[in-house]
């Protein structure tokens, strides 16, 4: 089923993924890994990059398979493509980044169930040509990634007073010196590292996003709001 619908322009795609339809703070997709793994900036970055890579591969393959995608088999094919990609990423990470693999734990294989990825395959890549699908994957993936890293950095900073703790699990031993101890937290705001802290931090981030949007609408409307380029059936 591949009627090429009107393709949004690339700036529209990027605006949409990074801010307007951000998968994490607007669509609220993939909240389970988002909340669980954002306890440090490095963990957030690791999962963000793995999700971005999965999204790139799945959007590429889905877009290339458009001519043969049939209504009856399109969902199984998405699942097949996504599960294969995630398994490959997991194997590669186990071989080359074993420490990051250990610290992401179950949330790495669970990328398979992230609605963001199957959502983009169904709503976008199965209807658009390859180049637009790649831009969409990059913008949505980076949109998810920056929220993960920002949440991780905030929680790490408030909870233990550091930034970039454990950077060596991602960047090798020479990154051990990157950690910045801004203050000695002394367990005062421990809650930031625990699951409730994840909800608080995400809630505050959502409020901040809405506040910024509200400020922009109040300001003289120099740029009119662009309508969402695609409607997302998967939520």
């Amino acid at each position: 089923m591949s009627h090429p619908t009107s393709t949004p322009t690339y700036p529209q795609l990027w605006r949409s993924g990074l801010w307007q339809d951000n998968p994490a703070i607007v669509k609220l997709l993939g909240l389970c890994p988002l909340l669980a793994v954002s306890n440090t900036a490095v963990n957030g970055l690791g999962l963000g990059v793995a999700t971005l890579a999965t999204l790139l591969v799945s959007n590429t393959l889905t877009s290339l398979l458009r001519p043969v995608l049939d209504n009856a088999i399109r969902i199984p094919i998405y699942v097949l493509v996504i599960a294969t990609t995630v398994t490959i990423i997991e194997l590669l990470m186990k071989a080359w980044l074993p420490e990051l693999h250990a610290s992401l734990g179950i949330f790495l294989p669970l990328i398979v169930t992230n609605c963001l990825i199957i959502g983009r395959a169904e709503a976008f890549a199965s209807r658009q040509h390859l180049s637009a699908s790649l831009h969409d994957a990059l913008s949505m993936g980076l949109g998810f990634l920056w929220v993960l890293v920002l949440l991780g950095a905030c929680r790490e900073l408030v909870g233990q007073g550091t930034l970039l703790d454990d950077a060596h699990v991602l960047f090798g031993d020479y990154a051990k010196a990157w950690v910045v101890q801004l203050f000695d937290a002394d367990h005062g705001m421990l809650i930031a590292l625990l699951p409730p802290g994840a909800f608080f931090a995400l809630g505050l981030l959502l409020a901040l996003k809405n506040w910024i949007d509200a400020l922009q609408t109040q300001a003289p409307a120099s740029d009119t709001a662009i309508e969402s380029p695609v409607t997302d059936p998967v939520t």
Binding site: L65, V68, D70, A72, I73, P76, I77, L80, V81, A83, T84, T87, I88, L91, L92, K94, A95, W96, P98, G159, Q160, A185, H187, L190, L193, L194
Partner: protein, 206 residues
């Protein structure tokens, strides 16, 4: 019979089957490429963690390959646990025991404990736990060097009543706000030492 529909379904099935075959091929390829390296990485990581708890080499044997699974309730587990032994000049030198503590604050705490043949602790490390982050996790070496305080101790250097935290009249420091976690670790290590005294021959049986 709707032949067009059947033909369509047949085509869809073939496409799906083709995709499955491609996916299998890709997975097989990546798995065969990474298999050797994953095994190597895991072996290196495990060896590294054992060597940190053993006296300096050389040994007669690879500690990881000398593993023996023992039924040992004294080590805190109902199932057989791995015991890694090293020998020098055919004489038993030291062993690493896998110890579990059931009385942590939140679930089981798992440790590795390196002991010389005479019963002196070479070192201890917590390998797995779900204690409160920021409070109980000072038992991890990456958070504090508390766990290194066990090195050199044995049941002869430290009396039985001293094997607990200071709040309970023992000689080990507890952490601010967390007594249960360090006490669980101290008790588990003490139990393991006592078990080792009585089971030394089993541990080093060839």
């Amino acid at each position: 019979m709707n032949t067009t529909g059947t033909r369509l379904n047949c085509r869809a099935g073939m496409i799906l089957g083709g995709c499955v075959l491609c996916a299998m091929a890709a997975l097989w390829l990546v798995q065969s490429m990474t298999q050797e390296r994953i095994r190597h990485t895991q072996h290196a990581r495990q060896t590294e963690s054992l060597l940190a708890l053993l006296p300096d080499g050389p040994f007669d044997n690879d500690p990881l390959l000398s593993v023996q699974w023992l039924e040992a309730e004294g080590l805190g587990s109902r199932d057989p646990v791995p015991v890694y032994r090293v020998f020098r000049n055919q004489q038993p030198l030291a062993a690493v025991l896998s110890v579990a503590s059931p009385d942590g604050y939140n679930g089981e705490i798992q440790l590795l404990l390196g002991i010389q043949y005479d019963g002196t602790i070479v070192g201890a490390r917590v390998t797995q736990h779900q204690e409160t982050p920021g409070l109980g996790d000072d038992i991890e070496l990456r958070r504090s060097n508390w766990i290194q305080g066990f090195t050199g101790l044995s049941v002869t250097t430290t009396r039985a009543q001293d094997w607990t935290v200071t709040q309970s009249g023992g000689q080990f420091d507890a952490f601010t706000g967390a007594t249960i976690t360090p006490r669980a670790v101290v008790h588990a290590i003490h139990r393991a030492l006592l078990w080792f005294e009585h089971n030394r021959d089993r541990v080093f049986a060839v």
